[in-house]
């Protein structure tokens, strides 16, 4: 069994371990990208009707009072602008995470976008006519935040992603910037 030393941590590890870590990170990155891709699918322009009902949800099931103030004062009065921005950002998040391009930048954006989603729906809970309760599972959003943090810190696009193929070829000032976000 061959042994390599991780360049950053200096921790010795077998080639098989390194390969398994790379495959795991790539799979996680693609899975999260796939989730964002699906999230973009149900936000239907030009009116974004269903999405608006989710944006209004924290007013009925509050999680974090300052976020509710932002929803009332900024988001709802400019809802269409907000909805288009979210629609385009979620489509781009799915795209860039799946191919692993500028992954650290997009993982950071995904992490930031996970917060308002958490503040919007974490306490959502309704009881139907048959007495069944339909509610969110708040831990899912903690996991979402944690996974984006992992993709960011591990630079997951360098493992079976375009960042890994291209970052050594990026040159000049733009290349330096791209290497920083990849």
């Amino acid at each position: 069994v061959s042994v390599s030393v991780d360049a950053r941590s200096g921790v010795p590890r077998t080639t098989a371990e390194a390969r398994a870590t790379a495959i795991g990170l790539a799979a996680l990155r693609i899975l999260i990208g796939w989730i964002w891709l699906h999230e973009a699918a149900w936000k239907i322009p030009p009116r974004f009707g269903v999405f608006q009902s989710w944006v209004e949800r924290p007013l009925e099931f509050p999680v974090f009072a300052p976020y509710n103030a932002v929803v009332e004062a900024v988001i709802l009065p400019n809802f269409l602008l907000f909805a288009w921005a979210v629609f385009l950002l979620e489509a781009a998040l799915g795209a860039f995470l799946i191919v692993g391009l500028a992954t650290r930048l997009w993982a950071a954006i995904g992490l930031l976008m996970s917060l308002p989603i958490f503040f919007s729906v974490a306490n959502y809970s309704v009881t139907g006519e048959e007495g069944r309760t339909l509610s969110e599972w708040p831990s899912a959003y903690y996991m979402m935040i944690a996974i984006h943090l992992l993709l960011l810190l591990a630079a997951a696009g360098r493992h079976h992603g375009l960042d890994g193929v291209l970052r050594d070829r990026w040159t000049g000032r733009a290349g330096a910037l791209l290497r920083r976000v990849s």
Partner: protein, 135 residues
């Protein structure tokens, strides 16, 4: 010799992977939309393998662009890879326009289609400038 110069095949492999992904998305979209009996320019689109949505025309556009990317990858052609990448981003703009005005959504796309087009377009345009011709 830098590490990147030692591995000229990696970029071609990446372009070929993107092209194959596009061919699967396009051909499946075209086939499923036709099997669903949708008109060529259907604006609502057919759900493709729980993945994205297209009209038959949308599937055809994705498949043709992916064919161009495939040839670009096989030949190591920066021009063809760049053309295919630009084509995907134009198609993405058409999906955005189709979101604003439903009658213009001739590709039958949704947000997930937009995501697929962004992935293929941005990926190919990132690879094209450093793609080396096949020796």
């Amino acid at each position: 010799v830098s590490r990147a110069e030692e591995r000229p095949g990696d970029v071609r492999t990446a372009v070929l992977c993107l092209a194959v992904l596009g061919i699967v998305a396009g051909v499946a979209g075209l086939g499923l939309a036709l099997a669903d009996g949708r008109p060529l320019l259907d604006t609502s689109g057919t759900r493709v393998l729980g993945w994205h949505h297209t009209s038959p025309f949308g599937g055809l556009v994705i498949a043709v662009l992916s064919g161009v990317a495939l040839v670009g990858g096989l030949r190591g052609s920066r021009l063809l890879a760049g053309l295919a990448g630009s084509g995907y981003l134009l198609a993405a703009m058409a999906v955005v326009a189709g979101g604003a005005v439903r009658e213009l959504n001739v590709l039958g796309g949704t947000g997930s289609t937009l995501s697929v087009l962004f992935a293929l377009g941005a990926g190919l345009l990132a690879c094209a400038p450093v793609l080396a011709p096949k020796r």
